[in-house]
């Protein structure tokens, strides 16, 4: 190799000192969206990196300034579209906080089930894609059928699968029917076995371990300074979880652990997410158990009694004048939002998802800002890949659980 180099007529300076500029993205399958990374390479080693978010331009913060509350829900769907129910619930809870709406316990438990299913679906994708990006496609194909089962549950509840628009201010649009529970039971019965196999396929897999251990590590201190939250922060050893520290939707009623890592590398992030799926299953089981305990009228409650914010039943809208008027008034934002300033956050699948809303008492928020976890920790990417190999850059990117939709604002 050395000899070959001597034969080539090079510009002044040795080859060791030359660097190459390499564009990783924006249209590479491993870049998970429209992110561009301009890498300065010394051979296969990354000397420095510069990240660009990419321009999706959906302007949902601006759009929200003109829309009544229910018309904002579809915007939240499109933030982290791998777990849109969490975004929906987070948004509805923000509205409820502003309006002082109290939800019944059963509604909280139903929400917890949906949010934990969404978290599982999100982690299924993220963790299996880390497998794909490090060369293991079959695990991805294998676990997709369980995401499908979760999507079927959503479909049964609200009619849609990806961008769910699930729920209402105060609860759900309708009660969960028998099929939902059958499907949920099927999922709870089948998924643990698959998850165990998924773990076996990757956790002690030599190739996977070599590709991920020590790749893109970040210390707890640095992660906090970078505003990391969610599994990415916990992989560094900080046990911060919004569900525990600022409980919402009755998370305080459940027993579950917060898995933490030590080094904060790609492998740790993968492990934390995987462990979280087990915890999510535990939470779902507990919530399911609690729901069975409701008796009589309580067992049928699926929304709070707030007619000024909660949309009337569809069949009433079609047949009763009063219901039609209320439906119209709520959808068009004729019932004003109380003035106030509120911040509410939920533990999204990839970190703390915050909603900061200022209302001046009009029909739409005066200002609505989303704290989007992806956007916040993608900026650490440059530091994470500095000095590592090009192949690591791909693994690091998929381990951060970056969702292009959530980068946007």
């Amino acid at each position: 190799m050395q000899e070959q180099q001597h034969n080539i007529k090079l510009p002044d300076g040795s080859i060791e000192r030359q660097t190459t500029t390499l564009n990783l993205g924006p249209t590479h399958p491993a870049t998970h969206g429209v992110f561009q990374n301009i890498l300065e390479m010394d051979g296969e080693r990354i000397v420095s990196a510069e990240s660009t978010v990419g321009y999706i331009h959906r302007a949902f913060e601006k759009l929200a300034e003109r829309r009544p509350l229910y018309q904002i829900t579809p915007l939240t769907d499109r933030l982290n579209y791998c777990s849109s129910p969490i975004n929906n619930m987070g948004w509805h809870m923000t509205c409820e906080k502003l309006m002082g709406v109290q939800t019944p316990k059963r509604v909280d438990y139903l929400r917890v089930i949906i949010m934990e299913l969404a978290r599982t679906a999100d982690h299924i994708i993220c963790n299996s894609v880390i497998g794909v990006d490090t060369g293991a496609l079959s695990v991805f194909l294998y676990v997709m059928q369980y995401r499908e089962q979760i999507y079927e549950i959503y479909e049964e509840i609200c009619g849609s699968r990806l961008t769910t628009n699930i729920g209402r201010i105060g609860g759900f649009e309708r009660n969960f029917n028998a099929t939902v529970w059958t499907k949920l039971e099927k999922f709870l019965h089948e998924f643990p076995k698959a998850l165990k196999e998924f773990e076996t396929l990757l956790m002690r897999n030599r190739i996977f371990m070599d590709r991920t251990i020590g790749a893109g590590p970040i210390s707890a201190e640095r992660a906090l300074n970078y505003g990391f939250t969610g599994p990415n922060l916990r992989a560094s050893g900080v046990d911060y979880d919004v569900r525990i520290h600022s409980p919402y939707s009755s998370y305080q009623d459940f027993n579950f652990n917060i898995p933490v890592g030590t080094t904060g590398d790609v492998y740790d992030r993968w492990l934390v997410r995987n462990q979280e799926m087990w915890e999510s299953l535990e939470i779902i089981k507990q919530a399911y158990q609690k729901i069975q305990e409701f008796k009589g009228e309580e067992a049928e409650v699926y929304h709070a009694n707030v007619p000024e914010y909660y949309l009337p039943k569809k069949e009433d809208v079609y047949t009763k004048m009063e219901a039609l008027i209320w439906h119209f008034k709520i959808i068009m934002g004729e019932t004003a939002i109380p003035a106030g300033e509120v911040y509410h956050s939920v533990e999204g699948a990839n970190g703390e998802l915050g909603f900061y809303m200022i209302s001046d008492g009009g029909r739409s928020p005066y200002r609505l800002h989303f704290r989007r976890p992806c956007f916040i920790y993608y900026q650490a990417y440059e530091e994470l890949v500095k000095g590592s190999m090009l192949a690591d850059a791909v693994a690091v990117m998929s381990s951060l659980n970056l969702i292009a939709g959530e980068m946007d604002a």
Partner: protein, 172 residues
């Protein structure tokens, strides 16, 4: 000692006196205001103090109030003390003609992109920022789209020909 809103307020007033004001507690979160020249001093104090320890910057954004002459732009910081699990919010106001606010990047690495985003949308000029350029919009853009002078199209307007937008029908 438990870190209550009252205690935080008391500590801030001891340190800064009248330079911190407009204390409120909307939905339980302590909110206050300070002059824009003080934002770094307040943040540094909140970060370093052994009891307060607000070392996590949750969120940074801006709000545009066109009807407040001299204080059109508000930069809003949400800080979090993860040890005691307390959140606070503070704001600095600036005139839109000279929207200079000191950057928080030296304290929080996470402020880097948050400030770029705020600059991109509102035009707040973060003095001392290492790389203050647009992040979600193209570099050539010469206005700040989240300001209130750029409203969205009114959906009820009737002066457009819907046929041009593929919606059929014409107002004529």
């Amino acid at each position: 000692m438990e870190l209550t809103n009252d205690y935080i307020r008391q500590r801030l007033e001891e340190k800064f006196g009248g330079e911190v004001y407009s204390f409120e507690e909307p939905y339980g979160m302590l909110t206050f205001e300070t002059a824009k020249t003080n934002n770094l001093k307040v943040m540094q104090f909140l970060f370093d103090d052994a009891e307060l320890r607000f070392q996590f910057l949750t969120d940074l954004t801006a709000v545009h109030y066109p009807n407040q002459p001299g204080r059109e732009l508000a930069v809003v910081y949400h800080l979090h003390n993860l040890v005691d699990n307390v959140r606070i919010r503070f704001k600095v106001f600036t005139a839109i003609e000279q929207p200079d606010v000191f950057t928080a990047t030296s304290l929080y690495a996470t402020a880097n992109w948050m400030e770029r985003e705020t600059y991109d949308f509102f035009g707040v000029n973060f003095v001392g920022h290492p790389n203050l350029k647009r992040i979600l919009n193209v570099d050539e853009m010469d206005y700040f789209p989240m300001r209130k002078e750029f409203p969205l199209e009114d959906q009820t307007r009737i002066d457009k020909d819907d046929e041009m937008f593929g919606r059929g029908g014409s107002i004529f």
